[in-house]
């Protein structure tokens, strides 16, 4: 399973990568922003994208919108990662077309299983 992580925080990307790769035995690619993420999604065709919400220049919702409007990436499931754990925020993000929302801080030991569970459920 190939997962694309889009997050402007290098450290978060590294932790997520370690959790998904070492614990979840997944193939992981990452991007440090929305534009790079879209490009890598087109090129790499990942099975799912973990997308940070708050990013400079192109934030999570804008990136999601671009991904969904791009026929090459429209079918890739997107899971948001957010530090805002409010129910209304989670609902709002889901309504934008995300498969689910995972909250920060996440446990890298459980991240892979959480991603798998979301993908299997949907």
């Amino acid at each position: 399973m190939k997962i694309l992580i889009i997050d402007d925080e290098d450290d978060i990307r590294r932790i997520a990568r370690l959790g998904l790769a070492r614990v979840g035995k997944m193939d992981v690619i990452d991007a440090n922003g929305g534009a790079e993420g879209i490009r890598k999604a087109e090129d790499e065709k990942p099975d799912a994208i973990l997308l940070d919400v708050m990013m400079p220049v192109m934030d999570g919702p804008a990136t999601l919108n671009a991904l969904k409007n791009n026929p090459a990436t429209a079918s890739i499931p997107v899971i948001f990662l957010t530090a805002k754990a409010m129910a209304s925020e989670i609902e709002r993000l889901k309504s934008l077309g995300a498969l689910d929302v995972l909250t920060k801080p996440f446990d890298p030991m459980k991240l892979a299983s959480q991603v798998r569970a979301v993908l299997e459920e949907k």
Partner: protein, 597 residues
Amino acid sequence: MIFSTPSYDIEEKDLHAALNAVVFESLFPISGGLGIIYLVISIGHVLLLPASLAPVMVSVALVTAGLLFGLRYLLRRKPISVRWSHPLGAFIAGLVLLNSLLHLYFLSDPQQTTNLLLLIIGVGCFFLSVRWLALIIGATVVGWLLIAWQALPSQSWIHFGFALFEAVALSVLVHGVRIKIFRRLEGLRMRDRLRKAELEGALIASDESRRNVEDSKHKLENTVQALQASQTYSQSIISNMLVGLIITDELGVIESVNPAVEKIFGYSHEELIGQHLKLLMPQPGTKKDREQFLKHAYLRSIGRITEWEGRRKSGEIFPFELSLFEFHTLEGRHFAGNIKDVSERREVDRLKKEFISTVSHELRTPLTSIRGSLSLLAAGVLGELPEEAQEVVTIAERNSVRLIGLINDILDLERLESGKLEMHFDVLEMAAILEKSVESVRGLAQQQEIALEVENTETKVYADGDRLVQVMVNLLSNAVKFSPEKSAITVTAEQKDRCVEVRVKDRGRGVPAEHRELIFERFRQVEASDSRQKGGTGLGLAICKAIIEQHNGIIGVESEEGEGSTFWIQIPSDHKSYYEFVQQSDRSSSNLTKERS
């Protein structure tokens, strides 16, 4: 104005007493005068009477004179009631009658009848009582008849009898005239006295009235002064209050405002008086709106502090706190509103919350890295660590989890207090809530061999399931943390009126009385070291309280130090009760919390 002339009716007994007094006044000069006359007569008897008669007649005259002087002395020295005036007068007349009859008898001279004639006329002039006059005249006539029958030649009877008749007639005539005159005079005098007494009474009353008026005036002046002082006192307080005070009539029309209101709303005193309160609200509205407004404000704000939005003259909308109370005066019903501009406070609150939210949010990002790194290290994902390094990393991971918990709690509390935490209410089985909650703490309880005893319940609550579970987990984990090993924790849920009471009883050290209210405040724990030794952030019970209050319920604790604690919550059992609790809790929830806790 027509004044009625008062009639002064004289009672007969009073007039009789007055006439007695007139007679009484005559007794003293008459007894003295007659006494002197009888002394002179005694001398005359010595000089003129034959030796055979002189001793008797002189003796009689002297005795008479002595008795008269004695009477005079008595009248001067002793207080004698006027009731005795006629009897004493009769006594004097009797003495004169006795002398006259003795002269007539011993001298057998019809000429001596003249003494009796004088006596009859004299008593007519003296007495003011028909009865006593009749007695003396009767006695005189009878005495004369007896002596005349025995000692006087018959030819003199006609002449002196006729003279007696004339004397009696004259005496009666004089007596009648005198009675009439004296009755009238005494009547006038008495009426005069009564009038005078009445006038004096009126004068006294008038004086008293004047004094009363002066007293009243004095008191009134004092009262006015006290009132002015009190008014100045109150006015000074009202004028210098930082809180605005608006007085309206029962329709909400502004009657008065203090300077703070002018400052808060930006209107001058003159601009506000006579205007409806709605002028100060965001939407002035129609007449009907204005009427509805006061009814709404009355129900909402009477006797308690509520928050409203106001509109300044500049058009700026701002929050203020309002507390209404009503009072009554002769002019009718009034309302007074205490107004406090809380815009600055709200702004500070908003900034504070924004700060907490931002800080908490910004903390999450680095914490994600820290916690994630430590988890990976501790789990050995990145390779086995030396024993001591493993221990240190485990400590660091545990504390990073604790720090995340603290941030989550702070965010939860901030959202609860700002009303931003969304609640999804439904009617739920309490048994399911308890089962889920107990399951969450079962592992922790088992570590300490603590039994979790949950009594069966069929109660239902109107609640947000996740939040209620959060509360129960918090109460249960607290109970586990503070229970001795191998003890038991009992959980019960019972229907009480329109709410369900859930009780969590532990056998721990208990909560000292002085901490029972404080522990529901943020960062308050019984022992300062509890957060380190027992874990927890010090926010758990504050969050529980906020959540329960969002349910319009109440939370409290009963405890005996050293014998455990029972934390309890009461929440509405259905939708209807929830809304009834909304109204009641405004009035009494805080009191109930205090009573119970």
